[in-house]
């Protein structure tokens, strides 16, 4: 012990392991922090504790469609969006069109999942800052979404509901009614959340001016999703590179404006998520209105999936940012190479850049505000 003391006294610095077993690293992330007092001098993220060989599995599978359940397990908080990205990639390779009804169901599911995922992200962010209660309020709402998902797909977390060329089965007969009801009851809850958390002075003090990510750095580090939008860049793949039928809907891209402090701070990233939930509600409403009532969702599923030779990089907007699948096909029934470009992986890479000079308590806020899911980081 005396050794340690003299060591600390000499260097004036202490290296501390935050994680892999730490309450607010959102999973098994290990951050090596060099501390001077409580001020962080250096951050070294260590990942890989949750590596499950997604890419290797995908290459070993004898069928493209067997990969879908594994994509669920990448970002288990927004499984629908992960599937969506993968199926559009394979559909582009096969050059098939999907029926109208399927597209609408996909969009509704993806947007509901986005709300569910943001609720979890926001709740966990509050939890990191010591506010326990908003976390559970968010969970109550999230449960309602999961109930709707369960009624339709049968699962609550890992759905495997999207299929290449269609959906695995049709939605539950109550789907439209349930979703409409949810949309109606959820709007006031956003206001309540704003009262409880977003507008709270203590919360603002903890998040404003913390972990500032300027626009240039964000782009250079490849940030996307709410992290990039929090820095004031109006970039949303649903608008800028529309996939599926997102070009039919009328919605806005909320961006950070530096209302409470500097542009690109934790509060901006947080509020972008809150406002995105409102926009998602708008998309859901429009999609519910436009959704055709009739149509077989399974008829478009090809019996044999064997794309021609070629490769493509298909990207989609998940709640965490740009999810890209780089798929190479060599004419066989299994993909030659599947690389998943996970947004959390990229965002975690920029952590050292924005955490220098912060306090430990700020570190928690920064990790919470970039909203990582370790399942996606490690794949």
């Amino acid at each position: 012990m005396t050794d340690q003391i003299s060591n600390i006294a000499e260097k004036r610095e202490m290296t501390i392991n935050m994680g892999p077993q730490h309450p607010s690293t959102h999973g098994v992330l290990r951050l090596e922090l060099d501390l001077d007092g409580e001020v962080i001098k250096n951050t070294r993220p260590n990942i890989g504790y949750l590596h499950r060989c997604f890419e290797k599995y995908a290459e070993e599978m004898d069928d493209y469609s067997k990969v879908i359940p594994y994509t669920d397990r990448m970002d288990y908080v927004s499984a629908m969006n992960q599937e969506h990205g993968y199926v559009i990639a394979v559909e582009r390779m096969l050059e098939i069109e999907v029926p109208e009804r399927v597209e609408y169901i996909r969009v509704i599911m993806a947007e509901m999942q986005r709300i569910a995922s943001h609720l979890l992200g926001i709740g966990a962010f509050g939890l990191d800052l010591g506010a326990f209660t908003p976390f559970l309020y968010c969970f109550i709402e999230r449960e309602k979404i999961l109930d709707i998902f369960e009624k339709t797909s049968g699962a609550r977390l890992l759905y495997n509901y999207y299929a290449i060329g269609g959906m695995i089965k049709d939605v539950h007969p109550d789907f439209k009614k349930d979703t409409n009801e949810f949309v109606k009851t959820f709007r006031p809850k956003i206001k309540e959340l704003n009262d409880l958390l977003s507008g709270n002075k203590i919360f603002i003090k903890r998040t404003a001016n913390i972990g500032v990510l300027p626009e240039k750095v964000a782009l250079n580090y490849g940030a996307s999703g709410p992290v990039l939008r929090g820095s004031g860049v109006e970039w949303d793949l649903r608008k800028n590179d529309p996939y599926s039928i997102y070009d039919r809907f009328d919605f806005e891209i909320p961006i950070g404006k530096g209302e409470m402090g500097t542009l690109g701070d934790c509060w901006d990233r947080y509020i972008v998520r809150v406002r995105e939930m409102e926009q998602s509600l708008r998309i859901i409403e429009q999609a519910l209105e436009g959704m055709p009532d009739e149509g077989d969702v399974t008829e478009g599923i090809p019996k044999r999936i064997r794309p021609k030779e070629g490769e493509l990089y298909a990207r989609s907007e998940t709640p965490r940012g740009e999810l890209g699948y780089y798929i190479i096909s060599d004419k066989s029934a299994s993909p030659f190479r599947v690389k998943a470009r996970a947004p959390s992986f990229v965002h975690l890479g920029l952590l050292p850049a924005i955490s220098k000079g912060a306090l430990i308590a700020d570190m928690v806020a920064i990790v919470g505000s970039i909203d990582i899911v370790l399942g996606e980081v490690d794949r």
Partner: protein, 342 residues
Amino acid sequence: MINFAANTTYTLPILVHAAVPLTIIVVYALVAIWGERKVAGFIQDRLGPMHVGRWHGWAQSIADLLKLLQKEDIVPKDASRFLFKFAPFMMFAASYAAFAVIPFSSGYIGSNINIGVFYLLAVTSLLTLSIIMAAWASNNKWSLLGGMRSAAQMVSYEVPTIATVLTVIVVAGSLNLMTITEMQAGNDILGFLPNWLIFQNPFLIVAFIIFFISILAEAHRVPFDLPESESELVAGYQTEYSGIRWAMFMLAEYADMLLLSLLGAVLFFGGWNSPFGDFMSGPFWEFFWFMLKGLLLVFVMMWIRWTLPRYRVDQLMHICWGILIPLSFINLVLVALWEVIF
């Protein structure tokens, strides 16, 4: 020097005097831990403990206590063994000893000394020492950070606490808690309001707010629970503790919370005086009113805990040194002026 073992005439009353607050603390702690979980549950649209003991899980904390008693007592290999084992008991002793001067009713006070407030504030300072002791002895970096935070926080917040207590003393003119309580009897203000100090002087309302914020910080409650903030420092100074030693920390913490709330009740809300004059008075009712006032303050603390996020360590310091301390001293002057003028 009194030989306790030989002199039963002294030992027995001392033991009784010691047993009364201890019973109150233990019973209160069991109820409060259950109550806190219930409050948290209701606030979060849950139910809280429902299973143990059938009726709303009333026996949950007893079950927890039994579980903690059975747990393995782990001492880390590189810990400083004696200090590690000793710290929780010292912490409990500190908050327990302070109960000696709390007037539970007109008929019962542990020790009616004339420097009661002074003694109480002095003894509770030991809490800081025991927390640092626990933090340092654990030989854990998170504990150390928690201990350092705690030391800084408690030392700082003692200043506004003492300054506001001083304000009350200026008005009351006594350091004896019994005397302070007795002078708040009756319902004379505006014809119906009780003669509580908070109603006697408008600046004492400000003093109470400062006092309340300070005791939140002293008792490590949200938004000032930095020493043990679970999402930053794992569990702060308690990280390495388990079993009964951990339970001791818990007990001390809840006791501290009650102690400071009761102090607040004595200083601002008339102690054991009934709010309805002579109605429902007498030693037992006095005890009831006193505990009710204390527990109400405890409830507000819980309510705040389950609403707010926590401050950062530098903001906490800023609130103390930059806002509360100047404000409390200005307030002290204003209160004194008011007393001189009216």
